[in-house]
């Protein structure tokens, strides 16, 4: 009998605000410990939370992007539990009435199929501080710089059925939050984290099996491996007649396995109640309209426009829309080269992507701006340089030698389109290789390439290839 896995993800996206959710402390990453922990953040007696408008607007933007319901009335609630990195003894979160509910996100799977993943809710909450377990010999150190940083917790329905699909969904959310400019998506710095709820059931049955939650896995690859491992572990256990326990597990990447976390016996009694320090959030139609007006064109819409409007192949459109910086780069190029969408896409996804990849750079850190790359492509189009030469110019541009025109001029790379010079070279080559000429004329047409090569050599590779070909054919035939 076969098994179906059922996966739901809880994603914590750190909203990129300058200040914290409930205090005016900075959220900048990497500061010295506790230098960005204000009175509110360390829960000084008497301090009170004051919410950050930008975090609300970013949450609304996400809700609109996934066609969700934006609550006109929502509530901040306290989630009560004791932990060393939780200064107040409670986390301000949302419980019964989250700001975003009932959304959906179209996710393209690896097989090209597309599924709609239901997003049950997305709510605002504050982050906890950081425990440094290796700071001291017998003590744990606590840094509250991260305490109070705004998070959007995005909760999917348990509708994913493989580790690959789960990661495809995770990537789609990752693209979306970065696209919207609400989260920098930096997984290494913890700005985008994911917990996975995993269960399995007999294929064809409806009832969900006992689920486990895998906590805070910090890369797409590890999410996939952790879920895969957990699915296999659960199936193996059930097939051995064991009973699964609902528990939280951690992924050990080195050993490639999940392990149960030390259980907190009271972990499920958080005693949520409305935060008496914070009246309910009222969101008006005008608030929502203002956020909507500022929304960028969404990745899915743009992908469709590239396919239907610009005639790009699906794969090009999908790759260009993998992140907004890439898509925007492409559009900026296209603005300078109207009608040359495919050529622009080829350069962005080909030469440029390869250069960025080689140095592990994001599009934001490209060394060649869109106008510069457009300038290079324009020189190919107008015949100044050949496509082959263009690759050398690209490399020089990447190395910082200036724009295409400057490099072509400095290196003398202009293509020779002067008929006189080409004719002279062709004549010289024909004169030099009489035997090959005779051969060609008796029907060995493959020798055309030999003559092209010899002539190009004389012209130091700079001849316009179309012109050279045409002239050679002509001369080889007649005479």
């Amino acid at each position: 009998m076969s098994w179906q896995s059922v996966i739901g993800l809880e994603i914590h996206a750190q909203l990129c605000t300058a200040s914290k959710l409930f205090s005016g402390a900075s959220t900048a990453y990497g500061a010295e410990p506790n230098t960005q922990a204000s009175l509110v953040d360390v829960a000084m007696p008497g301090t009170l939370p004051v919410p950050n408008r930008a975090a609300l607007d970013k949450a609304i933007a996400f809700g609109l992007a996934v066609n969700a319901t934006i609550a006109r009335h929502s509530v901040f609630a306290r989630k009560n539990y004791f932990y060393s990195d939780l200064p107040k003894g409670y986390q301000i979160s949302q419980y019964e009435l989250p700001i975003v509910s009932a959304g959906a996100l179209a996710v393209r799977l690896q097989n090209g199929r597309s599924i709609d993943v239901e997003i049950q809710r997305a709510h605002l909450e504050e982050d906890a501080g950081k425990s440094l377990h290796d700071a001291f010999h017998a003590a744990t150190g606590l840094d509250f710089n991260r305490a109070g940083v705004p998070l959007l917790e995005i909760v999917s329905a348990p509708v994913l059925h493989s580790a690959q699909d789960a990661v495809a969904y995770l990537r789609t959310v990752h693209t979306l939050v970065r696209w919207l400019g609400i989260c920098d998506g930096n997984m290494a710095e913890g700005s985008f984290r994911c917990d996975a709820n995993v269960s399995v059931r007999r294929t064809g049955t409806q009832k969900l099996g006992t689920r486990t939650e895998i906590k805070n896995v910090n890369s797409f690859r590890f999410v996939e491996k952790a879920i895969e491992y957990e699915i296999e572990r659960q199936i193996r256990a059930l097939e051995n007649g064991e009973t699964l326990v609902q528990e939280t597990r951690l992924y050990d990447a080195a050993a490639h396995r999940t392990l149960p976390m030390r259980s907190k016996e009271d972990a499920d009694d958080y005693r949520y109640f409305p935060d008496p320090d914070l009246p309910p959030l009222a969101v008006t139609d005008a608030d929502i309209a203002a956020v909507r007006a500022a929304l960028p064109e969404l990745p899915d819409a743009r992908r469709k426009r590239y396919i239907e409007g610009l005639g790009l192949p699906d794969s090009d459109a999908t790759q260009l829309c993998a992140d907004k910086a890439t898509a925007d780069y492409f559009e900026a190029m296209l603005g300078a080269l109207p009608g040359q969408a495919k050529t622009c896409a080829n350069w962005v996804l080909g030469e440029l992507a390869a250069a960025l990849n080689a140095q592990n750079l994001a599009m934001e850190s490209t060394r060649i701006s869109a106008p510069m790359l457009a300038g290079l492509v324009a020189r190919i189009a107008d015949g100044t340089i050949s496509g082959k030469t263009a690759k050398d110019v690209f490399a020089a541009m990447w190395a910082g030698e200036g724009d295409a025109d400057a490099i072509v001029a400095a290196r003398g790379l202009q293509q020779i389109s002067d008929t006189g010079a080409i004719t002279a070279a062709v004549d010289a080559v024909i004169a030099q290789f009489p035997m090959q000429l005779a051969d060609y004329r008796t029907g060995n047409e493959k020798l055309l390439q030999f003559f092209v090569g010899q002539a190009m050599k004389r012209l130091r590779g700079q001849a316009n290839p179309q012109q050279l070909n045409a002239l050679l054919r002509d001369k080889l035939r007649s005479d």
């Binding site: 010295e32 506790n34 001291f136 150190g141 409305p274």
Partner: protein
Amino acid sequence: MSIDAATVARIARLARLPLDAQAPPQTASELARVLDLVGQLAAAPLDGVEPMAHPHAQALAWRADTVTETDRADALLALAPDARAGLYAVPKVIG
């Protein structure tokens, strides 16, 4: 109403309060009396009444996203029973 020792222990554990060896019976009976008092709510006709969490029908006011706080680590860490190397310290937490 009565409240059993196990419940008292569970609540005390949630609240991170100690229960001395002799305390539970007394704590339990005291709690039971208080719960009897507040249990008067059970008999009141409250079904269908909208719960009220705040005294005024007031909407949340928001602040603009600006950094207004400066580094006060030294002053704040000085209040801590155990602070070292710029960190608050607690007994080793495992996992």
